[in-house]
């Protein structure tokens, strides 16, 4: 247990330089990019005096190194700063939008794994069959499809033509999310107050965005599961299991799949950042009010502190996911001890 605690602590400490490097890159890139936030913010006919005053107010007239040190100083005190465009703390929109992105990403991940792992295992079990070919074709095709295009197709087909699912937002407008929203996690909020109608509505709204996000990434998991399963199915213990007369289905899914999962779990941590990136486009396509949409809008406005704040949070989420995945090893592989 003591080893586990020390491992977790080490990983957390390692995340600090990662955040620092990310932040430095973002800080420099934003300031090197053409486009002045004050020009973007003020009206078309703002006089130079007002522009200079605004720059002074925002600290943009100071040397970049001074701005950087000041920013890091605030960050150490867990202060992400104030938005340049909207007169609010950067943490405020992040706290509001993060739950929406987490809900979408987790469901996207579930769809991705729910499709990718069984299909990959089935393809490995029936290697070189028509089914295997079909599944591999699916994996390649969905991986190549741009997320927003997939989203538009699903919206048109299942939303508009068939009318089965909503095409935008986290809830129906008439549901008035503000009435039940407390934590920002609508699934939790609706269940907490026992509002089944709202819960159903929230789940219904999650279907198309989650599928859009999940299907595209499921291609990776299909290929990964298939490749690992093929290796595992050649192992001696699989041969031994078959020799003992254990049914093939049990050999493949109980004995083979569990061992093939270890590298998949590793990839899960790595793919999570891809999911977050995919969520940016999915959020735009489905008007999903999450961090991705926030990031895109603030990039257009050159709202440096908010962009930096969102990147910090993304980095922390990816680090936390990576740590979680490492800890999962112990549960999956008894040989791993901390």
């Amino acid at each position: 247990m003591r080893h586990l605690a020390s491992y977790i602590l080490t990983r957390i400490l390692l995340a600090i330089p990662m955040v620092f490097i990310m932040l430095t890159i973002v800080f420099v890139v934003l300031r090197v990019m053409p486009g002045d936030p004050v020009n973007a913010m003020l009206g078309a006919h703002a006089p130079q005096r007002v522009i200079d005053q605004k720059k002074e107010e925002l600290g943009l007239n100071k040397p970049i190194m001074v701005q950087y040190v000041e920013y890091l100083g605030k960050l150490v005190r867990l202060d992400l700063g104030d938005s340049m465009i909207f007169k609010q703390k950067v943490s405020q929109p992040i706290i509001e939008k993060l739950p929406a992105t987490i809900e979408l990403t987790l469901f996207g991940l579930l769809v991705s794994l729910g499709i990718g792992i069984p299909l990959g295992a089935a393809a490995a079990r029936r290697r070189r069959s028509g089914g295997d070919f079909g599944i591999r074709l699916y994996a390649n095709v969905v991986y190549c499809i741009p997320v927003f295009w997939m989203g538009l197709l699903l919206q048109l087909f299942f939303g508009v033509w068939l009318g089965w699912f909503p095409v935008s937002g986290r809830t129906s407008p008439r549901m008035e999310a503000s009435v039940f929203s407390k934590t920002g996690f609508y699934i939790v909020d609706t269940l907490r107050i026992g509002n089944l109608a709202a819960f159903g509505d929230v789940m219904w709204h999650l279907v198309l965005p989650s599928i859009t996000l999940g299907v595209v990434l499921s291609g990776i998991f299909v290929r990964l599961t298939r490749a690992n399963m093929l290796d595992v199915l050649k192992s001696d213990y699989i041969l031994a299991a078959r020799a003992r007369g254990i049914p093939e289905r049990r050999v493949v899914y109980n004995h083979g799949l569990r061992n093939a999962l270890i590298p998949i779990v590793t990839m899960l941590g790595l793919q999570f950042s891809l999911l977050l990136a995919g969520a940016i486009l999915t959020e735009s396509t489905f008007s999903w009010p999450g961090m991705g949409r926030l990031l895109l809008e603030r990039i257009y406005l050159r709202d440096y502190p908010t962009i930096q704040g969102v990147i910090v949070v993304y980095t922390l989420v990816v680090s936390a996911m990576s740590l979680l995945v490492d800890l999962l090893y112990a549960a999956i592989d008894p040989r791993v001890k901390y």
């Binding site: 935008s168 407008p173 503000s178």
Partner: protein
Amino acid sequence: MKRLLAILFVLGLALSVSSLGAQSTLVYGTTDKVTDMDPASAYDFHTWEIFQNVSAGLMAYTPGTTNLVPALATGYTVNAKGDEYTFKLRKGVKFSNGTPFNAAVVKWNIDRVAKLNGDPAALVTQYVKSVDVVDDYTVKFVLTGPLSYLPALVATPTYFPMDPSVFPVDKIVKDVGELKGGEIVALGPYRLTSFKRDEEAVFEANPNYWGKEPGIKKIIIRYFADATTMRLALEKGEIDLAFKSMNPSDVNDLMKSSKYNAVKIPGPQIRYLCFETSESVFKDKKLRQAVAALINRPEINQKVYLGQNAPLYSMIPMGMSYHTDDWKTVGDGNIAAAENILKGLGYTKDKPLTFDLWYTPSHYGDPEVNMAEVLKAQLEKTPLVRTTIKSAEWATYKQQWNNKQMPVFFLGWYPDYIDPDDYTSPFAQTEGSKGNGIFFSSKAWDDMFIMEQQTTKDSVRNSTFAKMQKMWTDEAMTVPIYQGNLYIFSKKNVTGVKIGPTLIFNYDQLKLK
């Protein structure tokens, strides 16, 4: 499997329950955004639209028109010099929380806007020296000089009265949560009862409203990230009405559909081509005239906007007082006139006039790049002109026009106040022109602006603007291209959509059949 079916049944039941009572509410979709929930800081059409529905001004436009009529005021008088306006206020008016409205409230709000010095503060400080309370229901505006269009200014949300006990005197409010009681308390037909940024805004009828009761008790705005999703949501029935901004192809498709009511609004937005007139090759007005002659407005409107906008032949939009079509005398795609000027200046096929044509890809929407390409083709119909298209995102674009880096560039204009002055002085008066990257400066023009701004005589303004529009075709510091039409699409059961050139969308006029 049985368990899955049971879950689906419960969800289906839940969803059907959720749609009950939908008819008393209208859902309106938009791609617009709310900025600051404070009239002292908000300076954009959508946030102003919200204030126009939760609050009111001393003067207001009759819905769907440019006619100014008294609203919170019952009328006004102006002194002979034109620098003092006295408004008589409506009696018995109460804020949505029951607080009485009076002259002190008007003064408090305008003083607050000036003191906080937010983005629209210049709409007050540039013109108003002081606001004096004459008595409980009389307020006097002492101006910095004679001004003809103060009644139009007081119809802008920057001048709207808010409850002083709710808004902080020393701080701009970003979100409604920062207000005492968590709600905007004002004098409009609706109360904004809930607001989630980029998600939704909920309006309910104000029980203390002094005017006619709104046709629909509850309006919900749903905010969309893009126009395509908004169109799909309208088709899916998730929203009852969609407004600002649709893609041209979506507008065309929806216009053909019999499922929706379509309202075309001659918008106050104009688009035009700007020349940097101080340092670039276009400091020679003859070159500006040559380029202007080559522009073919109907072709741009047809090819880029599928005929949805209106070719514009003056910087003052159609439908506004003093508009004249002077640019029609120059013509569209007048290659002969352009070649005549260019040859006279020594340009030949081997030594053509070359310059960069700039546009900004996102700020004015997706069709912008197409407009640049179509214009390039029009300009190059003569071998005497060769252009290179260049683009920059909005923040960079603005920086570049300040730095005189763009010789020719597209811009668009939404007015601050509905008056011809706001469509002309920002481009041709020395200070305004500089702010828009044109850098045109002429004492004669500045004098004309001072005259039209200070006089309250309609005949003087009429002749001044007529002269200006004629002279504009000669100076050609900017060239009007089109006046944007806006489209509202709604379900067949929605009526009462009235939006005039002011672009003010009064929700209280809406009805559900």
